[in-house]
Amino acid sequence: MPSIGRDDVARLADLARIQLTDEEIDRLPGEFDAIMDAVASVSEVATADVPATSHPIAMTNVFREDVVTETLTQEQALAGAPEAEDGRFAVPQILGEE
């Protein structure tokens, strides 16, 4: 298994939208290596002939009727919002990703 370095941690933090402190970026690679060493054993037995199990209890075709259920009021929807305006959630400028 490849080792997880500082750069990898920074890239993962970026993907996961978590701002890390320098201390965290220094500490995490070592922790990850220890954990990944321990979990690497799965590849020993996960051979091509073994099917994957995504759900512990296999079920298919669980559908809902197309019927309207109780909705939230605008007030309820926005009650937990850090900031709201005109019945909408107010968020900081989105640009910067473009």
């Binding site: 990898d8 996961a16 701002q19 799965v42 512990p56 809902r64 900031e83």
Partner: protein
């Protein structure tokens, strides 16, 4: 109000209510008084719901007086783990990022508690987002073990187990993703059940790992767990993975007290290395009791269980990394704006950086890694295959035996802070409990006696998916056998808390 009533089992408290020996309001107040007296030492509760609980109790009392047919547990108070969403009651999942959030809806299981008239005492402490085995990762301080306040009460549901062990509540709700109901049960001398995946609706449980999470009862007796399980189980159209099956007769099974002819498989891979000597001794003694009562003890091997921990620590962080993406400071909860203003992207990152604790960040990043391009097959994909292998081990074992047994946790409660800086050491606590989550099978932890340092240990039984009744049968029987041997419940041996006469 005497302190006596709160020490009774939930079933006995229910009987006292039905007999008119005590009112629901008195019973609720007695538990609130107990919390007031001892929770300063334990920190089992994050939020108390006094007024609402008393209102529910009074409502039950008046309905009972009016001769209404009530649920058997009506009026018996309950504590709910803070990972379960409660309408109008703060819900934090033990995290700073949700501080102050008051949900506009109830989890399905909470709806069922309310419909049945159980006063909800409050929300119990837990590892942040249920990530931990010690309740130390809570953003609101650790919960302490009533047996020794320098030790952990288990995790992630340490608040629920401590509350029940300390007579703050007769019943509590826990959730179990890798052992978070069973391991706290073991280290606090209480009973905990992880039902079959899909038995209890997940709607309204703040998800850690969707394919592993399952809510269940935390109680002092096996019968109480059965009563609570029957109440909260059942199909829910709001959870696609909810089982459509009818609810089993758990209470009847718990009261059967008969294990004649029951075949109990001892999992070879989960009884030796890493398990403390006295924990193993109590486990052996428990098996001997069962054998003497007519059960057949069989050795079984589950060779792929040794890969279960690895698979778990890939699947769980992967799903958690995705489930926790919604905590971004845009719609609810904490928002942290870096100085001088920032873009939405920067605010999200700052909020998550400040709002999540170390263990949560560790798991999110680990999961992000395991799902990232180029690694999916090697990690998440391989882990899903191990899951198949673990299921096959269970299937093969259950062809030979009715239930499987192992110690619940490798050791008794460890000291606060002991494993906080060593993630792998902490993760090893879950070695025996994880296979059931991977396979969706049900498990119960029952006290097996006092082990190292005079602290409680637990024995775990596992049954095939949808055969939860077997757990209650064997658990109820063992509990009766051991209490006969001990001359009473194990919790009677717990030291007194300063705040109250124990």
């Amino acid at each position: 109000m005497s302190n006596d009533i709160i020490r009774r089992s939930a079933a006995a408290q229910a009987a006292a209510l039905q007999a008119g020996e005590v009112s629901a309001e008195e019973l609720t107040r007695a538990h609130l008084d107990r919390i007031e007296a001892v929770d300063g030492e334990l920190n089992a509760f994050l939020h108390l719901n006094q007024e609402d609980a008393l209102a529910t109790a009074r409502d039950v009392d008046s309905r009972r007086t009016a001769g209404e047919q009530l649920h058997p547990l009506a009026g018996v108070p309950i504590a709910v783990k803070d990972v379960v969403v409660t309408k109008g009651m703060p819900t934090t999942a033990g995290s700073k990022i949700l501080e102050g959030w008051v949900p506009p809806y109830d989890a399905t299981l909470v709806e069922r508690l309310r419909e049945a008239g159980l006063p909800i005492l409050g929300k119990t402490n837990m590892d942040e987002f249920a990530m931990g085995s010690s309740t130390e990762t809570s953003a609101y301080g650790p919960t302490r073990n009533p047996w020794d306040r320098e030790r952990i009460p288990g995790g992630s549901g340490g608040g629920s187990s401590a509350a029940v062990a300390a007579y703050e509540a007769p019943l509590a709700i826990g959730t179990d993703t890798g052992g978070s109901i069973r391991q706290p049960g073991a280290v606090t001398g209480t009973v905990g059940v992880k039902p079959t995946y899909g038995s209890v609706s997940r709607y309204g449980l703040i998800a850690m790992a969707s394919s592993l999470d399952q809510a269940g009862p935390v109680t002092r007796t096996v019968e109480d767990s059965a009563l609570l399980h029957e109440l909260i189980a059942g199909h829910d159209v709001r959870d696609s993975t909810s089982l459509p099956d009818p609810v089993g007769s758990y209470v009847e099974a718990a009261r059967r007290r008969d294990v004649k002819g029951l075949r109990i498989g001892v999992i070879e891979e989960l009884k030796g290395e890493g398990f403390a000597a006295e924990v193993r001794a109590r486990f052996q003694e428990s098996l001997e009791q069962l054998e003497q009562a007519g059960a057949e003890i069989v050795r079984v091997s589950c060779p792929n269980f040794r890969y279960a921990l690895g698979a778990y620590y890939l699947i769980m962080p992967s799903e958690a990394s995705s489930n926790l993406a919604k905590f971004d400071g845009m719609r609810f909860g904490l928002r942290v704006v870096p100085e001088g203003g920032a873009t939405a992207e920067q605010v999200m990152a700052a909020t998550r950086g400040a709002g999540f604790g170390a263990e949560v960040k560790r798991r999110i990043l680990l999961g992000t890694y395991a799902l990232s391009a180029g690694y999916y097959d090697a990690y998440y994909g391989s882990a899903q295959k191990v899951r198949t292998l673990v299921q096959r081990d269970f299937s093969a074992a259950f062809e030979k035996v009715d239930v499987l047994a192992s110690p619940t946790a490798p050791t008794v409660a460890f000291h606060l802070g002991e494993k906080l800086d060593d993630p792998m050491a902490m993760y090893l606590n879950d070695i025996a409990t994880i296979p059931a989550n991977l396979a969706g099978t049900p498990g119960i932890s029952v006290p097996s006696g006092l082990a190292e340092d005079g602290l409680p240990a637990g024995i775990q039984f596992l049954a095939p998916a949808r055969a939860d009744e077997r757990l209650y049968r064997v658990g109820g029987a063992l509990e009766a056998l051991l209490e006969d041997a001990w001359g009473g419940p194990l919790l009677d041996k717990a030291p007194e808390l300063a705040g109250g006469v124990n």
